[in-house]
Each structure stands twice: as C-alpha cells, then as structure tokens.
C-alpha cells in the first residue's frame, strides 16, 4: 500500500511548527550573529515556547524530553524548521548536538546519560564532535591519527582535530581517536567524552569559513596529553567507527529535510521577487526563463523530498536504508545548491546583498556537499550497492533494472 498523506498527528505538528516559525523564528532572524546564532536571552524564551508546545528535540526519544515520533515525523518537522538558519536551534535539533544526543542515547552508560545527555537534550549545554583531522582524509576515517593511550585508570588523548563544529561554548566534546592501532581498520578507534574545561583540551582557533550559520564556529582543536578517566569512554572500546556511523544515518535525514526547508525558502524568495518586480506591464514572473527556474526547482525539491521521506519510512521499518540515505545526501545537497543559486540569479545583484537571506544560505549550502560524506563518496556507495544488487538478481534471472 502506498500512502502519501500525513497522519492527523503529523499534520498538527506541521501546523504548530509553522505557526512558531512565523510568529517567533523568522522575526528574530535579524538578531542572528555570524557563527554565534541568537543571543541566549532571545534564544532561551523561544526554546521554552517550543518545549511547551511539545515540539522540542524531534530526534530524541520521549524518555529524555524529545518527541520520539520516528524518522518520517522527524523529517517532516526538519523541513519546516530548516527554513530558517536559527529554526533548528530554536527547536533543539541541530548538528552536531543532535547527532551527539543520538549516540549518547544509544551508547552512553546511565551515569553518562545523567551527566551529559540530560543537559544536552534539555538545551542547557552545547557539545561538539571531534573526528576530522587536518592531516588525513576525513572521507576515510580508518586513517585517523589521534590516539588515546591507557595509563593506569586513565586514558591520555593526543590529537589534532579541525572542523570541530561548535567547539566554542561547548561543554563537552565527543572525540574519536585510535585506541587499538593493531586492530583491523574499522575497530581501531573509540569514542571519549571530554569536558571542554579539561586542561588538556585546547581550542586553537575558529577556522575562517565560507558559511556562518553554525553556532560556535568550526574549530581547530588540540588534545594535549589530555587525561580522562576510564569512564569517559563512550560505548565499547574499538567501536568508534561503528558509533560514528550510527550518528550519521538519522543525521542525514534531518540534514536532507532541513535543506529542503532552505530550498523552499529560497524558492519563495525567488517567486516573491519575480511577482513583485515590474517589467513594463508585466512582472519578472512572466518571463519563461524565470518560470523554468521555478519549475526545475520544484521538480528537484519534490524528487528529493519523496526520496528522503521514503528513506525515513524505511528506517522507521527498521531498515538501515544505506543506499537511500546515500542517495538523499548526494542528491539533496545538490538540489539545495541548485535552488539557492537560481533564486539569486532571479534577484540579480540584489540577491547578493544582506537584504535577503539568500547570500548567507548560498554560502552555507556549499558545505552540504562535503560534510557527512562528500558527493563522490556517496556516489561510490550508491553505485557499488546497485551493482551488488544487480549481480545478485541476475543470478536469479530476475528483471534486474527494477530495484525497490
């Protein structure tokens, strides 16, 4: 059975979220500070409103104050709140905190949950995730060089990381480092929770970057003989890679749906401008070229949307949906960039001024084709998976071209 309609509950959620966006989120965008987001005296009361309306932390289970409604609902909500760069912060569901919350939920001990997950889930603290290192390819985490060495009851971490998003102002960092250099490549690393006030944890600098919507910068970070107790390990020894992957599946759904929100917002900017801009007796919207931009954007947005919701649905059925998740990551990031680019083209140089959100969205959008797996890596994953399926089917002499 195929059914494309939202449940009554989902409809209510979308309406409520839309209302909050219009009343509280969009009007506050003007207070946004580059790399810092909303000042907390503005942010906190807005988060309180979201909590009271029951739309807080869509990615987390009810036990820790989240919504626990599954991936399809999470996707639908992300689409609405993603329309504004501050939306996901107001709704308590933004990378890297969202992914960290998910790992903690799955892998943390009771004590760790108490100490880290609860305040994180509540929005009392922020966190960061330190995997990528400047010296080695982030696309291939088996090459990580940072280490943790056991010393009595403690681990001593030495590592150089960058793109540790949000490190400025974070309470803790989940670090991925090598604990077992001799194990097979996927079992070499483990995760540790490191308090950022640990004297061995150093934020070297905020790396200057193209986009400025993430809160707390994209930082270069060093762990200098950073000592943590044995209890700081998150999950089992050697499970770093596995847990980091676990963080990425749902993260890609929320990213992809958030991007659709951004794309939709850009579409709206484009259409609003095209309809208002007079060209003699006509408007810009009467131009077939502009109409082509609009139609192509809609086609891409719809395709990406259905792809993403289908992946979310599969995940709700307990499927990992690896191929689908790679597809939406690859395709969704491109759609996002295409649509924002077209919107700017319609507005002309005006679209590059700070008078509209487009230039900021354009700069931020470019990262989507890199983080959580670069285009080229996802293309490879999708193709390999399809070839594998094809080969298996050919063996059975089935019609190979149709994959479900």
């Amino acid at each position: 059975m195929l059914n494309f309609s939202e449940s009554a509950e989902q409809k209510r959620m979308i309406e409520l979220a839309t209302e909050i966006m219009e009343e509280h989120v969009f009007p506050n965008e003007k207070y946004m500070v580059p790399h810092r987001g909303l000042p907390s005296e503005i942010l906190k009361p807005l988060q309180q409103i979201v909590k009271e309306k029951g739309l807080w932390a869509g990615h987390l289970p009810k036990e820790v104050g989240g919504m626990g409604q599954g991936f399809v609902s999470l996707g639908l909500l992300s689409e609405v709140i993603g329309q504004s760069p501050i939306g996901p912060y107001v709704f308590g569901s933004m990378a890297p905190d969202a992914g960290n919350g998910e790992i903690l939920w799955h892998a943390a001990t009771e004590e760790q949950k108490e100490k880290y997950l609860i305040p994180l889930a509540n929005g009392d603290v922020r966190s960061c995730f330190g995997m990528t290192e400047p010296e080695v390819s982030g696309s291939d985490p088996t090459t990580l060089q940072g280490t943790a060495v056991k010393d009595g009851d403690e681990w001593v971490i030495n590592a150089h990381k960058w793109f540790t998003t949000g490190a400025v102002g974070s309470a803790f960092c989940i670090a991925m480092v090598v604990t077992d250099p001799d194990a097979n490549p996927h079992n070499r690393t483990s995760l540790f929770i490191v308090d950022t006030n640990n004297p061995g944890f150093e934020v070297v600098r905020e790396v200057p970057v193209l986009g400025d919507h993430y809160v707390g910068g994209h930082c270069e970070v060093r762990f200098n003989n950073c000592r943590v107790p044995a209890e700081a390990m998150l999950g089992n020894r050697g499970e770093g890679f596995k847990l980091a992957q676990l963080r990425l599946g749902p993260g890609r759904i929320t990213h992809a749906m958030r991007w659709l929100g951004v794309a939709r917002r850009s579409m709206n900017e484009m259409m609003k401008y095209a309809l208002n801009q007079k060209d003699g007796d006509k408007t810009l919207a009467d131009s077939q070229t502009v109409q082509n931009f609009i139609a192509d954007s809609e086609a891409e947005i719809q395709a990406s949307r259905l792809l993403t919701l289908q992946a979310a649905w599969k995940m709700d059925q307990g499927d990992q949906a690896r191929k689908e998740v790679s597809l939406i990551k690859l395709y969704g990031a491109q759609v996002l960039n295409n649509v924002v680019d077209r919107a700017i083209q319609v507005l002309g140089t005006y679209g590059l001024t700070p008078n509209t959100p487009l230039e900021g969205l354009y700069r931020e959008a470019r990262a989507a084709r890199i983080y959580d797996g670069a285009d080229e890596v996802h293309r490879m994953v999708v193709a390999r998976q399809l070839l594998k399926e094809f080969k298996a089917k050919e063996g059975l002499n089935e019609q190979a071209a149709v994959t479900k």
Partner: protein, 381 residues
Amino acid sequence: MEEVLVDKELTILKKTVRSFVRDKVERAELLQKEHITELSKDVADTLKETAQKTGLQAMGAKKEWGGAGLSLSCRTVLYEEAAQHRLGLFHPAGDAFGEELPRFLENCTKEQINTYVKPAIQQGKGCFVALWEEHEDNDIGKLTCQAVKDGNSWIINGHKAYIDKFQEAGFGVILVNCLGESGEKQPTLFILEHNDSFENKETVLIDVQKVNSLSFNGMKISDDRRIGNIGDGAELMKEWITEAQVLLASRCLGVAVKALDYAKSYAKIRITRGQPLSDFPSIRTMIASGYVNLQAARLMVQDAAKKIDERAKDAATAAGMAKVFTTDTASKIIDDCLQIHGGAGFAGDLPIERWYKELRIARMNLQKKENIIEHIANLNL
C-alpha cells in the same frame, strides 16, 4: 594609437607581471598572518611604488594621459597573469598597476582630462562607475535616475547601487537620463566628485565585496561635468560594458588557472582509501575538464579582445559570449577545486572559498547570462 605588441615583447611583459605577482603580491598576502581579506594600505602603497618603477602602470590608458596605451588583446594576456593570487579577481596584482579606465573618458574635454583623468592615472587611481540601480543591474534602458536642466546645471534625482571601488577611485562617472523638452529620456554621462552632495552607503556583497550605493536628492551638477553629448550616455556605457566584460573574463581565467594549480597539487598529496585523490576518475575528470574548458574560454577572450581592438561590428557579442562562458567555466573550476579540497576548500586558509563567493558576483556583474543569451537570440532569430 594603441600599442600593438609583437609576441616577443608581450612574452617579456607577461613574465614581468608573473614574477611581480609571485614575488611581491603573493608574498605580501602570505606575510599577513590573519585570514586576509584585503591588503593593508602600507603594503598596497609599496606594491604600487614597485610597480611604477617597472613601468607596469595604467596599462590601458592612453600614452598622452600617462598610461601605457596597451591594446585590449595585450591586456587580457597580462590580466590573466595579474589575477593569479588570492585577491586577484577584483584586485589584480594587488591593484598595483592602477585601475583600468573606461574608454568613454576619451570623450572628455581637455579640461576634464587635466582635472580628473590625468591626476587619477598619476596616483594609480581609477574611476568609479555609477550605473546600476538596486533592482536594475542588467538593462540600461530601464534605469530611472534622472536629471533636469536648470540654467547651466542639472538637477539629479535618483539612486545608484553596487558601485565597486568607490573610495579608491579618483573620481566617478554617473549615467542619468536627462529629460528632454517633451520629457524624453536622454541617457547622459556626468563626472562625479567624492564631495558632491549625494548620500553614500556602503554594503558588502556575499560577505566579500564592498560596494557603495549613492542617493541623489536634487543634487545640482554643472553642465561642464558632462561627458560627451546629451543622449550618448547609453552607447558610451555599452562600450564600457563590452570592454569591462572581457577584462573581467581575463581575470577569471587567471583565478581559474590558479585554482587548477591548487586542485592538482592537493589531489596528488591527499590520500584516501590508500590512493591519492589524483588516482580517482571523479577527480581526474574534474581537473582535466577544467583544462579543456579553460582553453576554450581563453580563446573566446582573445577573440573578443581582438574584435574590440579592431572595432569590429560583432565585438559586443563576442565580449558577451566570452563573459558568459568564462565566468561559468571559472565557477565550475572553482567549485570543483573546492570539492577536491573537502573541508579545507570550505575554509578560508586557502583562497578557494573567496573565489567561490567572488565568482558568484562575477557571474552577475556587468551583464548576467540571461541577458547575454537574449541578446544572442535576438541577433540570430
């Protein structure tokens, strides 16, 4: 007469520009420790002095004005070199060679030349162009800024936007519609001075380029500031746009060359899954296609420059074609280069993210694709 250099002379000049950019400009950029968005005034001034000593100054301006009087064909070759550094797309050679002056200044009176043009050239300064308006940045026919005659003066009302290098310029030129007796629009050029009584606001395009907008509320300007005849302004501006498109395109070639250099070097040293990126067909294709398109773009730029130098009938069309193709090509090369660098491409330690923003401006500058395409359609249909 413009100087037509023989190949050998041009080759020597090109080498001079190249070593100036590598040894002086790039070094100056590297020496500034923080994330660099502009050269400090001291550094810029020193570069200018050094350039003057080598005779690399006001390359396009007429010899009798104190310029080098080089043909556009020569200048495109030199600007491709001059743009090959971080700030190079909009500040070729760190602006050390002075600014290109619009050709319409040839219509200035002797007095205007002596008062405005020659001093600007001497100081290595340019001329800002107040052409577009906030919501009209492509069609000269749709501009609204107006002037009405008042004795020996004109009263200007209206608004101009997206003026690049406003502060740095020695003077400016504005296009306004002078209203004729029966209210007909007669586009005309006037010289502006910085202390004329307009309001001036600075804004930043896509976090990288400072531009100014000017508001005119009944500003009075004397008729002796007029350049050329009343009603000639649009044609004169179009000539400028034609030439400026080719100059912009030549600088885009320069940053694209540089981006490909970055991409190549990085692809060879960055290892993933046991292989350098340069072994992966996805990456090889990006780089190789970059070279293919870059060469096509370069030929189009040269073709357009030659046609402009020869004042050929189809010069404007050739310039538009070169502009579209080159800005699109450079955008794609820089986008790929950013992709190849992964996170490092998104970071400002390298110049790639700056070029990414600047190319988005370049695609919009002067004439955007849709207008050029429409023009070509009109010609052929």
